[in-house]
Symmetry: C2
Subunit: 116 residues, 2 copies
C-alpha cells in the first residue's frame, strides 16, 4: 500500500474512525469470549454508564460488528454478541493492547518529562 | 491478559486514547519512511489544515512518539521524525490498515443496510 492509497482510501479512515471512540474497542474486547447481557458488560468494563454502554452497542450494531439478541422470556432477556465481522477486529485490537503493555510506560515517562 | 487486567490497566487505555485522534495514527504512518518537513506532510496527507497538523505534531512530540529537529539555515528548516518509540506503533497501525483494506467494504455495507 502506498502512502497515497492508504490515506485516500476511505476504508482506512473508517478503521481509525471506528477506533476513534475508545469505548468501541473496549466493548468489542469484552465480548470476545461470547454473548453477554448489558449488566455483565457494565460489570466487566467498570466506569461506563448505562447510557454510554447503550450508545456504544448501537454504534457497533450499526457498523455490523455486534448483534443484538432479544429472548422472549419473563423477564425479557437481551444479549449482545460479536458478529463474524466484529471478530475480525480482535486481532488488530490485541496488537494495540500488546503494544500498550510493552510500551505504555515509555509513553507515560515521555509525558512526565514534557510536563515539567 | 485477563479482561480485568486489560481494562484496569491504564496503559491499555492510553494506547486507545492515542488512537482516539485519527490524525495521530495518520501522522505516524506518513512519517514511517523518514524525516519530513511540515509542508511535505501536509502534501502527503491532504485535507489537514496547518493548525491541525501543528497540534497533532505537538501531541505526538509530547507523547515521545515524534521528534522535532530545527536546522539553523536560511530560511530555517524544521523536520519531524519518528522516535524509536513512535516506530514501535507502526506494526499495530498497519494491522488496522490491513483490516480496513480487507473488511472495510463489509462495514460500509452494514452501515448501508442499517440506514434504510
Amino acid at each position: 500500500m502506498t502512502t497515497d492509497a492508504y490515506l485516500a482510501d476511505c476504508r482506512a479512515r473508517l478503521a481509525f474512525d471506528l477506533l476513534s471512540n475508545t469505548w468501541n474497542a473496549v466493548l468489542l474486547w469484552v465480548l470476545r469470549d461470547g454473548p453477554a447481557r448489558p449488566g455483565e458488560l457494565r460489570e466487566r468494563i467498570g466506569g461506563i454508564s448505562p447510557k454510554v454502554l447503550t450508545e456504544t452497542l448501537r454504534r457497533l450494531e450499526f457498523n455490523g460488528l455486534v448483534e443484538r439478541h432479544a429472548f422472549a422470556e419473563a423477564p425479557p432477556r437481551v444479549e449482545y454478541e460479536l458478529t463474524a465481522l466484529g471478530r475480525t477486529l480482535l486481532g488488530p485490537i490485541d496488537a494495540f493492547g500488546a503494544w500498550a503493555f510493552e510500551h505504555g510506560d515509555e509513553v507515560m515517562a515521555a509525558q512526565d518529562r514534557n510536563s515539567r
